[in-house]
């Protein structure tokens, strides 16, 4: 199978502090890749490099390549807006805009220049359905996105990403602010979404990684310690440090 995204010897620095050390990793299309590791290990930093989100952090620099369909997204001629359109992101804290539910979902298409009302209506409905939120909000599309529950807000944020029709969806601990039931709903949703999208998820929760992902990478102190099929990584870790972490000896 082809790699949808790939990083080659990727290093990243905040000022002079090295946050990532030569990460080489391939992300398979239409599968879920989970990145696990203790806080501060660099997994979120790595995720944010996949759609150039760290561009907005001042005083940082990177060495190496990130390939999306074999094209380096950090190449000088690449349009960063185009990259982010193709690689969407769901954040740790649900972050709907202080706008109506409809305006939240329609935001991306509108920014891309779509103003046709019926088309927007269609996209909004389709995206909310795909994010399993439609039935709960269809009568209240004009209400502010901020009044929804945490789990609903996170699904709204997923719908918002889907509306742009990305190819890859990055999820940065999407369930860490949610209760167990909302978490399960998001996980179900991820399983449905992977038929159409490639998903990369950062999670603190090893059970979650084991439940949803096909591939898993273990990060420690800016290093990719081990990367393998999830079933392998959790049942037969090859590295001692991975084993210590997943068996709960530290972390």
């Amino acid at each position: 199978m082809e790699f949808k995204m790939q990083t080659r010897e990727l290093e990243f620095y905040y000022g002079k502090v090295q946050a990532l050390k030569k990460i080489t990793l391939g992300i398979k299309e239409h599968q879920i890749t989970a990145l696990i590791g203790p806080s501060g290990c660099g997994k979120t930093t790595f995720l944010r490099l996949l759609n150039r989100m760290n561009d907005v952090v001042p005083d940082t620099h990177l060495i190496g390549e990130v390939l999306l369909d074999k094209q380096n997204i950090y190449a000088p001629q690449v349009d960063v807006v185009e990259v982010r359109k193709r690689v969407g992101m769901v954040f740790q804290q649900p972050n709907p805009f202080p706008k109506s539910i409809y305006a939240n979902v329609a935001f991306g298409p509108r920014m891309l220049g779509l103003s046709d009302g019926t088309k927007l209506d269609e996209i909004v409905e389709k995206s909310l359905r795909a994010a399993a939120l439609w039935d709960e909000v269809k009568d209240n599309l004009g209400k502010s996105g901020m009044v929804l529950s945490g789990g609903q807000q996170q699904r709204l944020c997923i719908a918002r990403v889907l509306a742009v029709e990305p190819e890859v969806i990055l999820m940065d601990e999407p369930c860490s602010a949610l209760d167990p039931l909302s978490t399960l709903r998001i996980e179900d949703l991820m399983r449905e979404l992977k038929t159409k999208y490639t998903i990369v998820i950062v999670t603190h929760n090893m059970q979650q990684a084991a439940r949803v992902s096909e591939w898993a990478g273990f990060f420690l102190l800016g290093e990719l310690v081990e990367y393998d099929k999830t079933s392998e990584l959790f049942s037969r870790p090859k590295n001692k440090r991975t084993e210590d972490y997943i068996t709960g000896r530290f972390g």
């Binding site: 989100m53 805009f97 920014m111 742009v164």
Partner: protein, 284 residues
């Protein structure tokens, strides 16, 4: 001394201070109202507010000219200052590299502290001759000169408060917008600005209050003649200028109409603040 006692005392003290501030406001309001009453009773509200005849020595006490002067100058000043200030705030909060921002910010805050007479002086020496040259008549003391000086004076206030409120918008909003393929400007215009709207409105209200209340610089560059402003090159007089330039020699009814002028200012400021509150309350 038990800490509950301290707690009780400090609560009482806080209440006292709060009451004092409130009482001062009431006292000023009553004082102005009391001073205004003779004129309001004798000449009548309508004749003071809506007449353009201001000849105190002949018993004509219409302050509409000055009211119009204040309103026109303030609106013009805001029309100049608000776009500039908000643009400057966006620049500082979003575009400028850290080092430039860190240099510009204290400089802008310093501008707030410059005494208004200095602004007036610069206006008189630099701006008025330029305007006289431009219009070809008069000394250049005009509505336009006043509006420009005023705009420069309120610029730092509006800029720094707007910038604070732009910075207070959670980074998550901006990143959320960028992650959806919005350009930087789209993120600023469609997410950051609406999210910072309350703060920006508050900044404009504060700036308007300052503009309405500005006295010294206005007296110096507007020409200070009680003429209804018909052109931006014509001189005029503001409500504040009216009080400042005449209260020294005024007695009787003349003095009382100057109190009415103050009352009008008081009401204007309250109205502006209420509009600001209303704008911020609507559509949560």
């Amino acid at each position: 001394m038990s800490r509950y006692f301290v707690d009780r005392i400090s609560r009482r003290l806080a209440l006292c201070f709060g009451t004092v501030a409130f009482l001062i406001l009431i006292f000023i309001a009553v004082f102005i109202l009391k001073g205004s009453l003779p004129a309001l009773g004798e000449i009548g509200v309508a004749d003071i507010l809506f007449s353009t005849e201001w000849y105190p020595s002949h018993g004509a006490f219409g302050i509409f000219t000055m009211f119009a002067g204040s309103v026109v100058v303030t609106i013009l000043a805001l029309a100049i200052a608000v776009p500039l200030a908000v643009g400057c705030a966006i620049f500082l909060a979003e575009v400028a590299p850290c080092r430039i921002g860190n240099m510009a910010r204290p400089a802008i805050e310093l501008l707030v502290g410059i005494p208004s007479v200095v602004y007036g002086l610069v206006g008189m020496i630099v701006l008025c001759p330029a305007i006289a040259h431009l219009s070809g008549t008069g000394s250049g003391s005009s509505v336009l000169a006043a509006a420009i000086v005023l705009a420069i004076m309120v610029l730092p206030t509006i800029t720094s408060i707007s910038e604070d409120s732009l910075r207070a918008v959670p980074t998550l909003y901006k990143e959320g917008a960028l992650a959806l393929g919005a350009t930087h400007w789209q993120a600023v215009y469609h997410v950051l600005l609406p999210a910072a709207r309350r703060g920006i409105v508050a900044a404009v209200v504060l700036g308007t209050g300052r503009a309405i209340g500005e006295t010294m610089a206005m007296v110096m560059v507007i020409g200070n003649s009680p003429i209804l402003p018909t052109s931006i090159f014509a001189p005029a007089r503001t409500l504040t200028g009216n009080i400042a330039s005449e209260i020294g020699a005024a007695t009787g009814m003349h003095e009382s109409t100057l109190f009415v002028t103050g009352l009008v200012l008081f009401v204007l400021i309250m109205a502006i603040n209420s509009v600001g509150l209303l704008l911020n309350r609507r559509k949560k």
